[in-house]
Every structure is written in C-alpha cells, then in structure tokens.
C-alpha cells in the first residue's frame, strides 16, 4: 500500500501570506448591510452580524493540514484554533461544523481520531457539533466552521485599543519553531509537550478572565505571527512598543531559531512587516524569528487599560501557560511597531 505522509508541516504555517491575501481581497466588492458589524475589511478574526439590538452572531472558519503526527492531538489543535476566533471577538460558542479533507487511501481510523479530538474541544467550549462536510483530497486537512453569539455592545474588535493600553499575550510564542524542529526530529520532548499543551488550550479561559477587566481590543495570534496580528490592531494613529525580554516563549524555541528551523511562513510574515517595524539594539536573531513565528492556535492578545494590566496578567498566569505583558500602545511614531530589548 502506498505510504501516505500524515504530517508535512501544517498548522498555521500553511496559511497564505498576508500580502498575497490582502491583494486578492482588495479586489472583491464590499458588503453594504449595516447589520454586518465586522466584516473582512478590518482584518478581524471573525464576522459579526447583528440580529437584534441585544444579539449578534459571530461566524468563523478555520482549517489546515496537520502540524503534529498524532491525529487525535491534531484534531484538538485544529478545533481549538478555529474556536479561538469566537473568543477573540468576545463571543460564546454555540454550534460548530466539521470541515474535512481526507485521502481515500488513508486509514479511516486516523480520521476517527481527528474528529474525536475536535469534538472534545467543541464540547469543552460549551458548543454542539452539528455536522460537517468532507471531501477526498490528496492531503489531510481539518478544522471547524463555528457560530457563536455576542452582545453587540460587548464585541471585542481588534482595532479599538487606546493610547497607553498595556498589551498582554496569553500564550507562549515559538509554537511554529518547535513544530518545525519536531518535524526534523530535533525537538526536545518538554518543548513539544509545552507546545501541544498551549495549542490544545482553549482561548475560552483567557477570554473569560479578561471579562473582568477593561479590555479595549483583542485578537488572537495565529499564522501571521505576533507582529502580523499586532499590525491588525494598529490604526493609523497608533504604534506599539514591544519588549522582547517580556515575551512569553517556549524556551527551547530560541535554540531552534538559532539552529535555523525556519518556516517559509515566518519569512513571508517578515516580508509583510518590512519597513513598518524597527528593531532596537540588543534584539537577537532568535527574538526576531519569535515575533514573526507563525502560531497555530496561539494566544489572545489584549489591549487593556494599564490600571488593569497587572491583575489581568496575574489571572492569565494562573491558567498555567507562559504569558505576560509584552508592551504598550503609543501615539503613532515613525515606526508602526518598535521591538526593544
């Protein structure tokens, strides 16, 4: 029987580059329905549509090829990643549909394990898995289309931060580097275990922790890396200062950057940021790779009132993953993003 490779380097490293995507999307007509509160033009995480003054639905779709060899864990990661967009908008998950691509020649038990992992995460999210769609394809891909709800007044857009807000990231960076090293057979067991724990952790818990504080904007950090998603938070009147020393990271990811386990996606993210980011003195090669590293099922990035920052960071730390205050929002200066040591 033909040998089929399950994992070839997937997850959010498989995303199309942000530059390519922006060019294609700019050619499409813009929707005009005033009840479409958040659509594609703000590069937000999900669409939000107002049904009544009290209720809006949050819709999102996310799927990708495996980034792990274990089908069950891959199913969990893909589902956690898709569900995350609802949490980034401040919503609650209601229903989810599976989206599956699977080779006809591959063992169907593998598909069963993927779907089992995914369904467990939907249940943990408090949602109902209500069906799905599958097609035969040469490579495995899996994800979810998720529908959630949110009160229109409590939507967390990504571009509504205030000058002076603290930036807080709820999960460690370096997931892409660790998965790449793992694919090359070079990842440390502890590093991979932390990456898997991070990727399978629902952003539900971080989003609920943030409900207690004055969060002005939120996004989730996925394939475009920290700086790519931070860019989406920065209106023309805002810049951000990021402290490299404060970044939560999977520690071994720095070694993997120095050993050049680099993805094409990270380089695309770097190209996209070209000319907008200034790296200060003391920023290492590994620091740069970490801020461009594509994250699969990465954390939530909050812009929060500075008076609430310490308390939110403490509550997030109690959830058990490396996290931290990574920077601040500033009035726009010469560079959009400044990364300092």
């Amino acid at each position: 029987m033909e040998e089929l490779q399950f994992c070839r380097g997937g997850g959010c490293t498989a995303k199309l580059g942000p530059a390519a995507l922006a060019r294609v999307l700019s050619g499409l007509p813009r929707p005009t329905d005033p009840d479409l509160l958040i659509g594609a033009e703000s590069s937000d995480d999900a669409a939000v549509y107002r049904l009544t003054d009290e209720l809006a639905i949050v819709q999102t779709l996310d799927f990708f090829p495996p980034m792990l060899d274990d089908p069950y864990l891959f199913g969990q990661v893909a589902a956690a990643n898709a569900l995350s967009d609802v949490y980034a908008m401040g919503g609650t998950v209601k229903t989810a549909l599976n989206i599956v691509c699977f080779p006809e020649k591959m063992d169907l038990n593998i598909l069963g394990r993927i779907l089992q992992g995914g369904s467990e995460k939907v249940i943990e999210a408090g949602g109902s898995l209500a069906g799905g769609h599958s097609i035969a394809d040469s490579e495995v891909k899996y994800g979810l289309s998720v529908t959630g709800v949110v009160h229109p007044a409590r939507i967390r857009a990504n571009n509504t931060g205030h000058v002076g807000d603290a930036l807080i990231l709820s999960k460690p960076l370096g997931v892409g580097l660790v998965c790449t090293a793992a694919r090359m057979g070079q990842a440390d067991g502890d590093a991979l275990a932390l990456a898997v724990r991070s990727m399978t952790t629902l952003n539900r818990w971080a989003a609920e922790a943030a409900d207690r504080y004055r969060v002005h904007a939120c996004t989730d950090v996925t394939g475009f890396g920290l700086l790519g998603h931070l860019h989406e938070m920065l209106r023309p009147d805002l810049s951000a200062r990021v402290h490299a020393g404060a970044l939560p990271v999977i520690p071994q990811a720095r070694d993997y950057a120095d050993a050049f386990y680099l993805t094409a996606a990270a380089q695309r993210n770097r190209n996209f940021a070209d000319g907008r980011v200034r790296f200060g003195r003391g920023i290492t090669f590994a620091d740069e790779e970490l801020v461009f590293d594509p994250q699969t099922s990465g954390g939530l990035l909050f812009a929060v009132d500075p008076a609430d920052a310490d308390a939110l960071a403490r509550d997030l730390a109690a959830l058990g993953l490396p996290c931290g205050q990574i920077g601040t929002l500033l009035p726009r200066v010469d560079a959009e993003i400044i990364v300092e040591g």
Partner: protein, 215 residues
C-alpha cells in the same frame, strides 16, 4: 570547489538546514539551488547570520542559485576597480562582520604564482595585486603569507605588491619567501619585505594551519 546543495523541490526549513550542514561540513563556498523566492530569502538570511556573504541569481523556471562565500565579490571588485585596474581608493566595507566560524589554528595565505588565476597573465598580475591589497583590508590579517615559485617575485624589489605586503607585515603577518625560488629567478639579493625561508618551514607552516587560502 564549491559544495552544491540542490534543495529544489524541498520545503523550508529543509533548504536552510541542508545549506547549514554543507557549510559546517565542507566550509564555504557553497552553492544552494532552491525553487522559490521565500526559500532564497531564508537561505540568504541564515548565511548572513552565520557571517557569510551571498549572491543570488534567478534561473529559468523560477529557481534561484545562491552563492555563499567568505568575501563578497563586490568588495573584491571595489578593490580591483573596473576592468581589473587597481583602485587606490580605500574600500568601504560596512557589512563586514566578525567571522564566527573561524577555525582553530593560524590562517596561511599561499601565493604560488605572481598571477591570480589562469588565462591572461597581464590580467592575472593585476588580480594578484588587487588580492594582496584586499588582504590588507580584512578585519584580521592572515598569520602567515607564504610566497613560492612565481609567488617569490611578489616580495622582490620593484614588485607592485611590496607595499601591501609591508602593510600586512605591520599588521602582524609573517611574510616568508622561498629561498630556492628566489635563487631560481635571480632575486636572492632583492628581497624587499619579510624573510627567506626553506621547505621545512613551509611544510610545517602548512601542516599547522587552521585555514589555507590560495587565490
């Protein structure tokens, strides 16, 4: 001889890892072939991070050839000037970085001819003058310069390379000219820089070298 890494058809990080391994195993120059621009950028980024220079060329069909080497040919050509004529202007070398992978043991430059390369001897002599000048501009001078056979002419009175060899000597390089060779060319009384040596010293110097450079 450059080591060739054919990484076409391979996804990142494989082209990068293959290139890194080739450099570690065989040293530079390494030529890496890739089939997309992002892989080219990743390979160039890694080579720069390792302290090397790269030059890339787009090939037909969307492939790229990346040459990874110790010194940029731009620096060399700014030394040599247009058409191989030697420029007197000091070279500006803002991108020089410390070589992190310098091997243990002394660096020995061997000049075994008064010409650099084969083809046209007039060009070869101009290239050699440019090369010796370029050596004076390196961050770190070689430990020893060995001159034998036609190379013995380079340290003799009247040679255009004497001034630059003296600079190298002032920068700490030992300039050693083969006595037998100087005798052969009738230059035994015309040594203008460094000292005369013999085959034992030449053999010992080469055998203890960490790196031998032959233009």
């Amino acid at each position: 001889m450059a080591t060739i890494v054919d990484a076409r058809g391979k996804a990142c990080p494989q082209p990068v890892i293959d290139t890194k391994n080739a450099i570690k195993e065989h040293g530079v120059p390494v030529i890496t072939l890739v089939d997309n621009d992002i892989a080219r950028q990743n390979v160039e980024k890694v080579a720069a991070q390792m302290g090397y220079y790269t030059e890339s060329e787009a090939l037909d069909g969307g492939d790229f050839r990346i040459l990874i080497q110790q010194v940029s040919t731009q620096v060399l050509s700014s030394v040599l000037g247009e058409g191989g004529a030697v420029s007197d202007a000091p070279i500006d070398c803002p991108t020089c970085q410390p070589m992190e992978l310098a091997p243990a043991g002394p660096t020995v430059v061997v000049l075994s001819s008064n010409c650099m390369g084969a083809g046209d001897d007039t060009l070869g002599a101009a290239l050699m003058k440019g090369f010796v000048y370029a050596l004076t501009q390196l961050d770190r001078a070689p430990d020893t310069v060995l001159l034998y056979n036609g190379g013995a002419k380079l340290s003799a009175e009247g040679a255009e390379t004497v001034a630059d060899l003296k600079v190298l000597e002032e920068n700490g390089a030992e300039i050693l000219t083969c006595g037998t060779c100087a005798n052969h060319y009738g230059l035994q009384d015309k040594l203008a820089v460094g000292s005369v040596t013999n085959m034992y010293v030449i053999a010992e110097t080469l055998s203890k070298a960490g790196r031998v450079i032959r233009p």
